[in-house]
Assembly symmetry: C2
Homo-oligomer: 354 residues x 2
Amino acid sequence: MKTIKEIAEAANVSTGTVDRVIHNRPGVSPKTRERVKAVLDKYNFQKNIIASTLAFKKELTIATLIPFSNSSKEFWNEPKRGIIVASNEIQKYGVDTKHYYFNQFSPESFIESFNKILDLNPNAVLISPIFYKTTIKLIKELETKNIPYIFINTDIALQQNISFIGQNSYQSGFLSGKILSQVLSEEKTILIVRSRKNIDSHQAIDSRIKGFIDYNQLHTPSRNIKHLTIESFATNEIKRKLTNEFLCNNLIKGIFVPSSYAYKIANVLCNLNLKSIKLLGYDVHKLNIDYLNHEIIDFLIEQEPFEQGYKGVKILFEYLLFKKKPNRTYNSPINIIVKENIEFVENHSENVLN
Amino acid sequence: MKTIKEIAEAANVSTGTVDRVIHNRPGVSPKTRERVKAVLDKYNFQKNIIASTLAFKKELTIATLIPFSNSSKEFWNEPKRGIIVASNEIQKYGVDTKHYYFNQFSPESFIESFNKILDLNPNAVLISPIFYKTTIKLIKELETKNIPYIFINTDIALQQNISFIGQNSYQSGFLSGKILSQVLSEEKTILIVRSRKNIDSHQAIDSRIKGFIDYNQLHTPSRNIKHLTIESFATNEIKRKLTNEFLCNNLIKGIFVPSSYAYKIANVLCNLNLKSIKLLGYDVHKLNIDYLNHEIIDFLIEQEPFEQGYKGVKILFEYLLFKKKPNRTYNSPINIIVKENIEFVENHSENVLN
DNA sequence: CTGAAAGCGCTTACAG
DNA sequence: CTGAAAGCGCTTACAG
C-alpha cells in the first residue's frame, strides 16, 4: 500500500498537491492534476482512513429523524436503539450525531423537527418518512442544500434518497395470508382490522392488506374475508365492534392486524374469551410479546427494526467518510415470530454487539 | 475529552509515562503509577483509538477456521462470506486475517489446519468446533499460548472460549415440532431422517431431534414418530429406505430433517411423486432453496450464518483493539423460512452492507 | 524509572 | 499554482 508521500515523490510534487488532487480541491494546474492522477491510478492508491480522520478536524454531523417512543415497549424504540448503537460506534471516528423525534400521528411535529434539522445543517440525514405529502414538500430543502439523506422503514418513491432500508410490505402481507391459510381451512372467515389513524399515514398498511388479500384470492379463493375499521384503538370501541362481528358471523376464526397494535385486539379477545381465534399481527415489542407468550397472538411478522436504524446510520457514515455508494434498497427480512422463537429475535434482549 | 498530553501535564509526567500506565507496561515507579492513575480516573480518560492505531505499527492477526465449502450453494459459504466481509472492514484498522478451512467430515483435516494456525501464532482465533474430542484436545495449545478464541455455530461447553455465536439447537427443534404440528393433525405420523455421518460429528443434530420430540410429547402426545437412519445421503439408499417406510406406513405425512440435507429427501419425494408430504429442513442454501420454491420443501429453519461469521470476527477485533469483553453467548435467531419470505433472508443475495 | 523527540499518514493554513 | 512545515493524539526507541 502506497502512502501519499510515496505518490508525491513518484509524481514529483508535494504531498499537499497530492491531497488536493485526491479530494478534487481547486488550486492545481490541469497538467499537474493529470500527472498525479496517473500515478494514483498506477498504484491504485487507497488513502489511510485512520490517518485521514486523525488529521481531519472538521466534525461531520449526521441528523436522524424518527417517531419517538415513550417506552421501551414500543416499536420505534428498536430503530432508535439501532441508531444510538451505531452513533456510539462512529463517534470514535469523529462523527457527531444529533437525534430528532416526532409524533407519528402529527405531521406538524414532523415539520417542526425537520426544520430544526435544516437549521443544524448536518452533512447527512436519516429519515423515517411516515407522512407522504409532508415529506415530499420538505425534502426539497435538503436537495437544494445538497444534503444526502436515507429513508428507513417507509419508502417514498422517486425521491433523491441515496438508499432505503425496510420491509417489502406487500410481500409481508402475502406471507401473512399464507400463514393463516396454513392453519385455517378455506371455509373459515378471516377479519382484517385497521384503524382510521393508519389510513392517513401509513401506505405500508395498504400494501400489507393488498398482499394478504392477493394470497387468499390465489390460493383460497372461496375464503370469506371481512373488513373492520375502527376509529382509534380504544378498548371499548374494539370490544363493541368485535362483539358485533362475532354475533353476526361466527365463522370468523382468524384476525389479521396489519399494524403493530395486535395487542389491543388480543386484549379484547381475552375479555370475550375468544382465545382460539388465530391472531396475526406485526412487530415485536413488549405489549405484543406478552400476548404471544400466552398464544393469544399466534404470529407476529417482524422486520428487524434495530437493524434498520443501525444500518441506516452506518451507511451514511461510510458514505461520508469513504464515499461508499450504498445500494438503492436494503430489504429487511420478513421474519415469522411465534412463542417458540421469540426469545431469539435479533437484538431483542441484550443480544447486541456494541 | 482529555488527551494524553493533558493528562501528562496534570500528573506532572511525560506522555510516555502516561502511555506506560495506560497499558500497564513496566518501568514506572508505584508512586508515579498511582498518581497518573488517579488523574486518568478523575478525567475518565478514553484513549483516541484512531491516533492509537495510527501510531501502533505492530500488526494484529486473527485466524479463522471453518469447514470449507466447494460452492456458493453450500451452508458454510455464508459464515465464510461473513468472515470475509468483516475481515475487509477491519483491514482498514491494521488488523490482518488469515483464513483456514477443513473438511467437515474429516477430523484429520481439522487437525492439520489447526496446526497451521498454531504455527502462525495469531493474536486471536475464530473456530467452528465441529469435532468435539479433537477440539478439546487441540484447544489446550491455544490456552497455553494465551491466545483468545471464539466459537461459532457449534458450542463446546466448559472451554475458555471468550464467546459463542450460534443457534440454540434444542429450541430450534422444539419450534420445528410446533410448525409441523400446526399443519399436521395429531393422527398423522412424522418421520425423522438422519444420517450416520451426522451422528459422529454434530451434537447439534441430537439437540434438534430432542427438541422436536419434546414438543410433540407435550402438545401432541399421541402422535406417532418414526426414525430413519441412513448411512450417507446417497439418492439410491434414500429412495429404497423411504419407499419401504411409505409402503409399511402410509400415515407418514411429514418429514423432519434436522440437518442441511433436506434437498436430498426432497429429490426423492419428487421421484416418488409424494409432493404433498410436509417436509421441514435446516439452512438456506441454493440446493434447498430450489425445492422450497417448488414447495417440495415446505419449511426451512435458518440461523443467519453470515452474521455468525461476521459478528465473530468483529467481536475478536473489538476484543483486541478496545479490550471489549463480549457476552458469553450470542444466540442466533431461529428464523422460519418459506417460499414467501425466502427472497428477503438476511444477506442471502447482495443485501450486504460492506 | 523517566523524559524528549521522532514518527504513524494524512490535512491544512501559510508563504511565495 | 505549489511546497514546506506544523499538527492531529498516540507509541516507541533512545538517552540518561
